[in-house]
Every structure is written in structure tokens, then in C-alpha cells.
């Protein structure tokens, strides 16, 4: 694949529903990140995977949010009992290493726009 792929590109749901957002990273990238971007704000870190394990989930806002990466490639962000405040663009990024510092560059997907009515 050419880049990080995210589906769906748009999701409209009703308050209280469950949603899943999928990310397919660049082949060979071991690190995967989820960010959330609200209107007028920069991307906000949610969770980081190194391989299959969540190495840092400190950005998840509450226990309604959960993410998995069972085979170390595709990841799914799951949101339970959605609320209107969850409306945002959810960005996925991947990198060759787990170091977003000097060794790494994050490659972003186009995002999944979630609207909770």
C-alpha cells in the first residue's frame, strides 16, 4: 500500500452507539499511533502500539475508548456508548520505529471523521 489507510472516512452515529475505526499502517512499520483532532485544535495523542502491545495508552480519555492491534499490523479503535463530545477526526499514524524523536517520522492517514448526533 502507498500509505496509511483508514476506514471509514466518515462515520455518523447516534449517541450511545458503539463504533469501530480501522487503521491499516504502512507495511513493515512496527509503531502505530492513534490521535484525535477536534475542530480548531492540533492532534491529541490517544495511544501508541509497538508491535501488538499498547506501549502507552495514557491519552485515552476514559474507559469507553479501547484499541487493539492483535497481529501487529491493522489496528481498531473502539468507542463504546458514544457521546456528542466524541465527535472529532481520528487520525492514525505509523512509523518504522517506536521513536517519534530523532529516529522516527510519523506517517499519517487521512483520518476518520466521527460525528455523534
Amino acid at each position: 500500500g502507498a500509505g496509511v489507510s483508514q476506514t471509514p472516512s466518515n462515520k455518523v452515529t447516534e449517541k450511545g452507539k458503539y463504533v469501530e475505526l480501522r487503521c491499516d499502517p504502512i507495511s513493515g512499520h512496527t509503531a502505530l499511533y492513534w490521535y484525535r483532532q477536534s475542530l480548531g485544535q492540533g492532534p491529541e495523542f490517544l495511544i501508541y502500539f509497538q508491535g501488538t502491545g499498547a506501549a502507552d495508552d495514557s491519552g485515552l480519555p476514559n474507559d469507553r475508548f479501547f484499541a487493539v492491534r492483535p497481529e501487529g499490523s491493522v489496528s481498531t479503535l473502539k468507542i463504546q456508548r458514544t457521546e456528542r463530545g466524541d465527535s472529532a477526526v481520528y487520525l492514525c499514524a505509523s512509523s518504522l520505529t517506536g521513536n517519534s524523536g530523532s529516529a522516527g517520522e510519523l506517517f499519517f492517514g487521512e483520518g476518520s471523521r466521527l460525528t455523534v448526533l
Binding site: 485544535q41 502507552d56 524523536g101
Partner: protein, 109 residues
């Protein structure tokens, strides 16, 4: 705590004019600073990182630890520079980026 501040939501300049997009950060350790850019209808992408000391598309940025700043500069703006610019911070060897709120750059002809 790590924090990145971009004080300007919008910067509008004429083609050929100098550009400076401001970025200030707060971090107690050794920071790694980046500029990311998002052109219209494109995905967010890395523009440059301070450790590389490189010039990309005519843009440069110098890390000033005394002023805790990492301003992005270009001597002569071009229309194709119009985009959203995000400053981002990572701790040395860190595994996540903290982004500022972004600055829209509009270059007018």
C-alpha cells in the same frame, strides 16, 4: 508536562514577503522539535525536524532553548506554501508527539 503553543491562528502574507510562524514549548527535559504541514485536501506530513538542521522547501527552524522556541521561517513566501502548520514536541527518545493548535498560513498574490 509537555506543551506546545502556537500563538497565531492565522498568518496572512503577500507572495515574496518573509514568513515567521511562531512556536514556543514547555518541557523539562531535552526536547525534539518538529514542524508538520497539512496542505489542502492532503494528509498531515512532516516538514522538518530540528535535529536534522535541514532546509525543506526553503523553510528553516532553529531550536532556541533559552527562549524555548522553534519558530519556522522562510525568506520569500510562495503561494504554494499556503497550508496549516503544526509545531510538535517529543521528549528525547520519546514515543509520542505533542502538537500545538496549528497556524494557517495564507500567501496572497
Amino acid at each position: 508536562a509537555q506543551r506546545v503553543t502556537q500563538p497565531e491562528k492565522l498568518l496572512s502574507v503577500f507572495k515574496g514577503a518573509p514568513v515567521e510562524l511562531k512556536c514556543n514549548y514547555s518541557y523539562s527535559g531535552s526536547p525534539e522539535l518538529f514542524w508538520y504541514v497539512q496542505y489542502s485536501r492532503q494528509r498531515l506530513q512532516l516538514l522538518l525536524r530540528h535535529i536534522s538542521r535541514e532546509s525543506i522547501k526553503g523553510f528553516t527552524a532553529d531550536l532556541n532553548k533559552g527562549e524555548t522556541s522553534f519558530h519556522l521561517k522562510k525568506p520569500f513566501a510562495q503561494e504554494e506554501d499556503s497550508a496549516m502548520y503544526y509545531c510538535a514536541l517529543s521528549g528525547l527518545g520519546g514515543n509520542k508527539l505533542v502538537f500545538g493548535a496549528g497556524t494557517i498560513l495564507r500567501v496572497k498574490s
